[in-house]
Amino acid sequence: MKSLKTACMAALLTAVLTLPLLGAHLVVNGLSTTLVVNLWPVGIAVLLVFVAQLLDLKARLGAITQALPTVSLSSASFSRHIRLWLAVVLVAALIFPFVASRGAVDVATYALTYVMLGLGLNIVVGFAGLLDLGYVAFYAVGAYSYALLSQYFGLSFWVCLPIGGLFAATFGILLGFPVLRLRGDYLAIVTLGFGEIIRLVLNNWDSLTHGPDGINGIARPTVFGLELNRRASPGGTTLHEFFGIPFDSLYAVIALYLIALLLVILTLFIINRLVRMPVGRAWEALREDEIACRSLGLNPTLIKLSAFALGACFAGLAGAFYASRLGTITPESFTFIESAVVLAIVVLGGMGSQIGVILAALLLTVLPELARSFSEYRMLIFGLVMVLMMIWRPQGLMPATRPRLELPTAEEAHQ
């Protein structure tokens, strides 16, 4: 009868926890604040917990998930067919915008931005093991550099995209240089502080950034020089005029999706090469043991800096893209919670695993969008999912398998 006792205790605890917050509702009623008592939710919560504890639901669920066949994407057969899979996914991704609804394409574009951010942060956190809680700062730098350059100098998206990445990388180096010698969590808090500083400066430097209102009317990317707007800018031509078709803002949505896809592919290509290069190995080694690295002649600061700057660079690219997609950016778009979500993507994906990061990014961005209709419970569920996922798969969706350079074993070598 131990379980009955624990179930009672758990139920009692639940009552204590929920009574003041779910059972009594504060209502500001004009001048006075009053309480409206509603014990239903408390009762339900208590009952649920009681039953769950009594039946030891957690253990049962655990048993069920244990029993589920785990689809291991990293299995040998998968990696053998990886090229085939990649091709299939790519083709699907290319067809997608032409068959899906406008809303779906929009969400997909949004998700791709997070894929990019996740892949970028994965370099810093997953590969190099540097906990960066201010990643969003570089995203902001990229976004604002495009917004400002286009606003003040009329530079086009394609010119600003690399500049945005470069600016962000420069910021990464400037920040990284002094702080990368900090250990573990101190680095985390400094980057967090730096992220906040960037946001606050953007918020307060009205004369340049328009303060909390942010920058409006940021130009969209052009497609081979053609604008995607309804009305051409002075001297420009729009896509629909060029082809002599009626304007439909759907073209812009599709074009943006394709650009995002392109950027993601580029990112994947670069990162995939990098992890196979000496610098990729050095990142991992550094994550494992900095002291050993130094003893072997690797310069930790430089190596960390390269990871930091590269991660920042991708955030900058993503930022520039984000600004051009939405047309509006405000400092509030770059709060800590963004960094947290991107970090969650990396960890949930399985640190250092790229397919994992992509899956996690899609999961964490598309799911909340799909759940918009439960808007009240949306974020509640989001938070809960984050916790449960961590408990369910602490090693992430797809634990990292960095491509390993294999040495044929002796027998193989002799063949």
């Binding site: 605890l13 926890l17 509702h25 309480l35 918020n203 916790v387």
Partner: protein
């Protein structure tokens, strides 16, 4: 020059009361970090819950009897808030972190962020997303001195904040340094597994840490409800980040450090508002953090961690 003195005095009072709240919350971060090496991002939410439970109880007590003496209402609110919030602290650890013991370092961090989002929205579900106002229950000042035409004042609520913080801090420091539980905390913060091998019940120590952190945060929450008079489900987030900053500033893991960091942060913000455009106060605060860490990589009172090779 004469005019400056009363202004400074007033600003110091302002800064101290602001910093005290940071300090109260910072303790929770510092203790948890010290022991399980994890940034408990949900701690700010614990503080927010403390504030809500406080306001709910105040309203309930006030509504039930109408004429209950204020002191009784307040102490009742404080006690209930402390109990319920402590229960939250305990439960959060039990549910969201304990199953992750032994996982890679970032895993509990994400779980904590998830918990923070969850709690924020859970309170929103129960209490709505809107501001809840608390009428000024303790109006009036502890003192108001007129210094050459400039009134320097300390309101009752702010006085309460400062004194409560001081008292709790002293009590906690004594407890940690004198009690067996305190010693167990020190052992756990160094090497949890080894502490376990010495016969120390590490799970109890961890729970204790979360409960103590929650208690202090609850006190902070109730006091903030009284003094600021406006709460919403999001107050925990900003306060949490600030308090965490304070904890790091003072040297994370160190309880006096959290106190020092909190007060320092409060004073910095206040003086930055006073002598620069107000809007830049947070920039100055975070700037200070970065600066201090550059020169003292483990915070003001943190012990530099040597790794002997």
């Amino acid at each position: 020059m004469n005019d400056l003195l009363p202004v400074l005095a007033q600003q110091v009072i302002n800064g101290l009361s602001l910093g005290s709240i940071y300090a109260l919350i910072a303790i929770g971060y510092t203790m948890v970090y010290g022991i399980i090496g994890m940034i408990n991002f949900a701690h700010g939410e614990i503080y927010m819950i403390g504030a809500y439970v406080g306001v709910v109880t105040i309203t309930a007590l006030g509504a039930a009897s109408g004429a209950m003496p204020l002191a009784l209402v307040l102490s009742g609110a404080l006690i209930i808030a402390v109990v319920v919030t402590a229960a939250y602290g305990w439960t959060v650890e039990r549910v969201a972190y304990r199953p992750l013991r032994g996982s890679p370092r970032l895993v509990p961090l994400i779980s904590a962020i998830g918990m923070s989002i969850f709690l924020q929205n859970y309170v929103q579900l129960g209490q709505g997303a809107r501001d809840i106002s608390v009428p000024p229950l303790l109006p009036g000042n502890l003192f108001e001195i007129d210094v050459e035409g400039f009134p320097v004042s300390l309101s009752l609520t702010r006085a309460l904040i400062i004194f409560a913080t001081l008292a709790l801090m002293i009590a906690l420091t004594l407890y940690i340094s004198r009690s067996r539980m305190g010693r167990a905390c020190r052992a756990c913060s160094q090497d949890m597994g080894m502490a376990n091998l010495l016969g120390i019940d590490t799970n109890r120590v961890i729970s204790f840490t979360f409960v103590v952190g929650a208690i202090l945060a609850a006190v902070g929450g109730v006091l903030i409800g009284l003094s600021i008079g406006k709460i919403n489900p999001f107050i925990g987030f900003v306060a949490g980040i600030k308090a965490f900053t304070a904890a790091v500033l003072g040297g994370i893991g160190s309880i006096p450090g959290a106190m020092l960091g909190g007060v320092l942060l409060g004073l910095t913000e206040t003086f930055a508002s006073a002598f620069l455009p107000t809007e830049y106060k947070d920039v100055v605060a975070f700037g200070l953090l970065v600066l201090i860490l550059l020169f003292r990589p483990t915070g003001l009172l943190g012990t530099p961690d040597v790794e002997k090779v």
